[in-house]
């Protein structure tokens, strides 16, 4: 038996080594490095670095661009959380009631946008909304509407959020669908016998039973919103007037366009703090709601 234990340990250590090396090289060292770097003024190329203490954090607080990234995260959430959950619920309810034979194909069709590259989508959106495209020509000639989609903050913001709603709703719909399908049919039958209508049934029975799947959806969604990058990077560059900028975009610009890597590290840490607090807050509120629904 002793031999068996030692063999297990040996193999266990060998198997864990790749992850362990990875965690040291790509997590622990960079983590410490990032904190140290965030107290430095260094332009990525120069030999000399100057220690500025919390200077980077202070100038981040007063930077218009960082403030915009911070506030835009909430703006994105205000539109995307209701937008995606409502649209995804619609898709899920629709899928749930479809005949079994076509349900699979339709589910996959809604899911594909989630996996599509933001770059490919940006190509389509860019030209579809360009000045001389068939869509804009139609708007101008037939409806006398002339929208400068990427030059005005409001349409630009709604184009970016529109892409994201299109992209991810299908995935969240599948999560909600899984919850819907786990409700035993007898419960609906009993409610129908008691005289509940479809709408009543949905709000009184279905919704409370799938509330916890909404917690999953909203937390995943919040995490995703912090990672918005490709679409504003390609389509708007964060503008106009910083209306569509995001943390990732700000980090990229600061660290790799302006080469201000100390500031970049500080921005990344501030972003992580906002992620941490926001997700905690959301989970707290959702748990409260979930508890009340039971």
């Amino acid at each position: 038996m002793r031999k068996g234990i030692s063999e297990r340990t040996k193999i266990g250590v060998i198997f864990s080594t790749p992850y362990f090396v990875f965690a040291i090289v790509f997590f622990l060292i960079p983590l410490v490095w990032a904190v140290w770097l965030s107290t430095m003024d260094w332009n990525l190329m120069a030999i000399e670095k100057t220690w500025v203490g919390l200077g980077n954090y202070l100038s981040a607080f007063t930077s218009e661009r960082v403030q915009a990234a911070f506030l835009n995260t909430f703006k994105y959430m205000a539109v995307l959380i209701p937008g995606v959950t409502i649209f995804a619920t619609g898709i899920a309810v629709l899928l749930h009631n479809l005949p079994q034979s076509i349900k699979g194909v339709y589910s996959v069709s809604f899911f594909i946008p989630y996996l599509t590259s933001g770059v490919a989508v940006s190509v389509v959106v860019r030209y579809f909304f360009s000045y001389s495209s068939v869509f804009n020509t139609f708007l101008r000639d037939q409806l006398n509407v002339d929208v400068r989609w990427f030059q005005d903050p409001t349409p630009a913001f709604f184009i970016i959020t529109g892409i994201i709603i299109w992209k991810i709703s299908g995935y969240y719909a599948l999560i909600i669908l899984a919850a819907l399908e786990s409700i035993p049919k007898e419960i609906h039958d009993a409610a129908a016998v008691d005289g509940a209508t479809g709408v009543q049934g949905f709000f009184r029975i279905t919704l409370p039973m799938i509330v916890s799947s909404y917690s999953t959806v909203i937390v995943l969604l919040a995490g995703l919103i912090f990672g918005i990058f490709s679409e504003p990077f390609l389509l708007t560059g964060g503008g106009p007037n910083l209306a569509t900028t995001s943390w990732y975009l700000e980090l990229y610009t600061t660290s790799f366009v302006k080469f201000d890597s100390g500031m970049g590290a500080a921005i990344a840490i501030l972003n992580a703090i906002q992620i941490f607090i926001t997700i905690r807050l959301i989970t707290y509120v959702l748990n409260k709601i979930d508890y009340n629904a039971r």
Partner: protein
């Protein structure tokens, strides 16, 4: 009965309309990539059929770097496949070690995992970039930092948890070596999860933008996703080829998704456990 079946018909029609709406960007992308250049973006219906845009990509229109698009596609395939394979292997090994070997120290490894999960990856981006700069414009530079996936590890951990311990204990009592148990029982049983993990990582990695853009600025090393990004502005007045490149970028994802849809559904329900 007739109202019920009518309701079903309405539902199917509604769902079909919604699917068509969701598929519209793909449709638009495809017809514009096949439109003659002077008609691109001028119509919502196919405006003729021309392979000019795809032909342009074959030689980059005879410009500098004639094979950059083909090379970008090859780079994407190499980087994405290698990364996904590595993520599956590392994930399976750690997952197996923690759950089925329960070796001395498995708790520690698990705690490191939980600790790492606590920190968003974005914090580490700048230092990792500084560290990997000597490997800029190489495949290892693109692959290594993405070759281990915490999500993959947790997928395998959750999966190995569901395998009954008795089977493994019985094999041990029969005197099978740990390697043999792994080879005969452990890995074959995890095949489905391995496919799910491989596909998910593959699709995510295929569309990776920021890291690949940073670490491989050389046009010869760019992935397709990055090359479209860097050509987005310079080739702005050549929408046809950009549409064609987007079609090529999207096609593998759609094909894999349709071919392995069963795995995705399984993966999704498994993911939520």
């Amino acid at each position: 009965m007739s109202t019920k079946s009518r309701k079903k018909t309405v539902l199917v029609l509604l769902a079909t309309a919604l699917v068509l709406f969701m598929m519209f960007p793909y449709y638009y992308m495809l017809i514009q990539s096949l439109a003659p250049w002077e008609k691109v973006d001028q119509s919502l219906t196919p405006a003729g059929f021309s392979l000019d845009s795809f032909r342009f990509l074959m030689t980059n229109g005879g410009n500098q770097n004639p094979y950059m698009w083909l090379r970008a596609l090859a780079n994407s395939v190499i980087v994405t496949t290698t990364t996904s394979l590595l993520a599956v292997v590392t994930g399976m090994l750690v997952g197996y070690a923690i759950i089925k070997l329960r070796f001395a120290g498995h708790r520690f490894v698990f705690n490191v995992l939980l600790f790492q999960m606590f920190f968003p990856a974005i914090i580490m981006l700048v230092p990792i970039y500084l560290m990997m700069k000597p490997l800029a414009n190489t495949y290892p530079g693109m692959i290594l930092p993405t070759s281990v996936s915490l999500w993959a590890i947790f997928m395998f951990i959750n999966y190995f948890k569901t395998l009954p311990e008795e089977v493994f204990e019985a094999a041990r009592l029969d005197g099978a070596s740990e390697f043999r148990i792994l080879w005969i029982i452990g890995f074959p049983a995890a095949r489905t999860v391995a496919v799910i993990v491989f596909l998910s990582i593959f699709m995510g990695r295929w569309s990776e933008l920021m890291w690949d853009m940073l670490i491989a600025p050389n046009i010869k090393m760019q992935t397709l996703n990055v090359l479209i990004t860097t050509q987005f502005k310079p080739m702005g007045n050549l929408p046809g080829p950009l549409y064609a490149a987007s079609v090529i970028l999207t096609l593998p994802i759609v094909a894999l998704c349709l071919a392995f849809s069963r795995y995705f559904k399984e993966g999704l329900t498994f993911n939520l456990k």
